[in-house]
Subunit: 569 residues, 2 copies
Amino acid sequence: MRLTQTLIPTLREAPQDAEIPSHKLMMRAGLIMKLGGGLYTFLPAGLKALRKVEKIVREEMDRAGALEVLMPALQPREIWEQSGRYTVLKDAMFKIKDRQQRDMVLGPTHEEVITDLVSRQINSYRQLPKTFYQIQTKFRDEIRPRFGLMRAKEFSMKDAYSFDVSWEAADVSYQAMYDAYVRIFKRCGLRTKVVEADTGAMGGNFSHEFMVLADSGEDGIVECESCSYAANLERAERMTPKTETTTTDKAPEIVATPGKRTIDEVSAFLKLAPHDLIKTLIYVADGKPVAVLVPGDRDVNEHKLARALGGIPVQLADDATIVQVTGAPVGFAGPVGLKIPIYADSGLKTPRVSATGANAADAHLVNVLSGRDFQVAEYFDLVIAREGDSCPRCGTRMREKRGIEVGHVFKLGTKYSKAFDAGFLDAAGNRQIIVMGCYGIGVTRTLQAVIEQSYDENGIIWPISIAPYQVSVVVPNTGHAESVKVAEEIIQKLEAQGIDVLFDDRDERPGVKFKDADLMGLPIRAVISERSLAEGKVEVKRRTEKEKNMIPVSDAVTFIENIIRGELS
Amino acid sequence: MRLTQTLIPTLREAPQDAEIPSHKLMMRAGLIMKLGGGLYTFLPAGLKALRKVEKIVREEMDRAGALEVLMPALQPREIWEQSGRYTVLKDAMFKIKDRQQRDMVLGPTHEEVITDLVSRQINSYRQLPKTFYQIQTKFRDEIRPRFGLMRAKEFSMKDAYSFDVSWEAADVSYQAMYDAYVRIFKRCGLRTKVVEADTGAMGGNFSHEFMVLADSGEDGIVECESCSYAANLERAERMTPKTETTTTDKAPEIVATPGKRTIDEVSAFLKLAPHDLIKTLIYVADGKPVAVLVPGDRDVNEHKLARALGGIPVQLADDATIVQVTGAPVGFAGPVGLKIPIYADSGLKTPRVSATGANAADAHLVNVLSGRDFQVAEYFDLVIAREGDSCPRCGTRMREKRGIEVGHVFKLGTKYSKAFDAGFLDAAGNRQIIVMGCYGIGVTRTLQAVIEQSYDENGIIWPISIAPYQVSVVVPNTGHAESVKVAEEIIQKLEAQGIDVLFDDRDERPGVKFKDADLMGLPIRAVISERSLAEGKVEVKRRTEKEKNMIPVSDAVTFIENIIRGELS
């Protein structure tokens, strides 16, 4: 392709609203163009790269035995009511009324549609297992779309759904998708970290996220410095910390703490370290108030709290409830004397002399001892894990990282198959319920994540597998007929081998062409100049290397082919 | 692919709401499944066929030099205001408010997005011409979705937009797309008829539709029985009919016609042929009332009327306006004595003694002569053409047909480039406005149109180019190991050649398998049975032929390959 015949509008400066490197580079390299908040047009080179990602995804899904389908984005409200997710996901979904004033949604995911389909089309164990997938445009009413394709209102996703006769069989399907994901990201040139994750609104039993580690990532992760344990912060556990027991003979004593509500304020005022305070939070769990205690320097992980209490919905109590339960204004809650169930983080299990709120305005208690002054109903791991916590598996120190979620696999279980009565007759003729899994890859996000992980100060560094063009051909002086002729011959031969070549045929200075070639990040650059041809040679350079190879003209095509074949094999 | 490993749920009976053959067959052959009104999921075999259509479209667009892009479906209202089409297309578009209560639409077409893009990225004649295309999901709030994919709320379309330096250059781009369309439909196995068409809400100068002739088509067409003239009824012209002059000395005479309002009522009451009556309609053209006269047996073509009056909006007057203009209730309008401009169809140019409304309640006039009793401002071709009219080019009789519009090419001119200020600097450094064309193919509709044109009483007859599988392999008795072994060997060899094969490995009676093979309409059927193998042969039959070929096992693969190659070359 000649550069003058396509449209790759490179920019010297990234637009103001591009915050992270990959977003800046996608804009600067002329891959995408913004239409509105969270809405981007794929320009020709950007789309070429996207199609290559899609092709890899499709090949690996097919290889794993998944069947491609295509489901509507526009969906009737009723099926979302049937799964109970209309309310849960309502704010994230774009809602539409059609001419007949019927409620429709733009589905951000397709569990409802596919399970409804399966419930109608599958009825025998002979038809199972089945995994369906689609690569489809999704819509999400993001509060704050940002980072280009990372968090967009419209994006491309590969979603897949597995249907099995049993929980064990579902594990096999899950593993097949997991393995396919590993291959997909590897082929896209991405280094991913697999972490345990929360199942959230999706429901289900367990899940893994495929994370691309990057400082700009929106997800927090902890990973063990020794073993393979890694988890999303929503999910991450920690080993119960070893704490020294301390004790006292003194009874709890009320201390006036006028206007001191936060841990920081109280700890400074009482001259105690934050971890010597107990943070007391009042939650409403399944409609009933409970107290939750964590060390003063930690925060409650509500996902873990909800799971600890049996998977029921939990939310922070409102001010009125807190006043009613503690008898004090917000900011002075403490466990001593509370008449509601008290749950505490396992970090508090070892009895220690602590300070807590006094359940009275402008007052705290010191010399408080658990077991003596208040009783905990049950201890769980309830805090958000963080750098320095101990690995729940091996006890080694864990570190914190940021990540971009590019893939997510869920063992769903029977949540949707029950809701849509998706069952089957087993070999004995008994009706059973189907066990499901679901699996997503953010296709457009994956494309951008590759850049976030692979660039330098000069621009993008594409892996050969998904580069819009694998080869960039530069003729510094397009006025030199022999250079153009040799370039065109080489290009023709490369294209005949199915290699995508971009020929910079612009009437520009060589410096501009080299700068743009680096910015666009095409993996292999061939320069054909009067000088190189005087030696009968072509300069071939990889984007990842400094070294320039001077290759005889007659060998150039084979040399380039070998680089590409070596990389893709 | 083994039939048991995919999902092709064939049906004996089509669902009640499937009205036309292609819709019935798509449902019966397990290609699509309904989610809601106008919303369909593509099942694996249906999607395979759709992808093949997309591939043909993409190859021919690329070959024509068009650049693939991908634009958002979700679009801000503002760009539709800028083109002035928000009001025009409002009812056809799905409208959305996002969280911030901003108005968005799901764009049923992309002139606004692409012209805005071009206005920002193109500024020199050196960057022109350019044609962009995309294959993308479109949404339309259909009043009455029906006929399966023919008129759906969500569908796949290929839309393309050309940008040129001049009207002449735009004709070249138009022709390139026109030629690509001819190739695309031919490769899909479709016989299309190209007809002149109205530009409608799209605006622009002229356009052609690619029609698939079918009784179920929603579009009316007339075509000349002799020359190549053909046009959509909205557009179709006719040669002015030759009519005998008649005259009378009698003055117009009022006849009481109590309650007789329609042409049929009046003609029966007065014992006159409908064409001896003049039908008088009051229109409001650009805000002012005008009278429009057509022969009593014809209907006004409002598209032609609007064009005749200079491209202004026209609409039938409301009752109050009619009463005000004619002094009579609706149903008794006539040209005699009217004080507003009178336009008449060219079929009325020859003076004839006629009957008309009397502009008085329950009264008509007879013995009316144009020129003597009323004056016509101007004559135009104003009626809807029909079977038996004369071709506007050669005068031969025309016939009427029904068609399915699968493609539409428009010479747009400067409507959008002006609205979005899409200009360029010419070689002399002067700023000029870009001249545009736009080009659409209903991709999902094309897929179904192929079936509407190619089926028999047993099912679909796929052309090899877009068949989900080119070959169906049937082993009547899957208990016969040798049959299965030979079948698998043949399949493996065919698949290694990139041929899609469906192996009916179900434990079903041979009759069921043969019936389903015919219903699915796969182009080539290979039957491997105990009986055929006894002769060392395989039975190969084309879906389009009765003849069965008994081919030696060792030649079967080559025989099938040759059929496929012959068809695709």
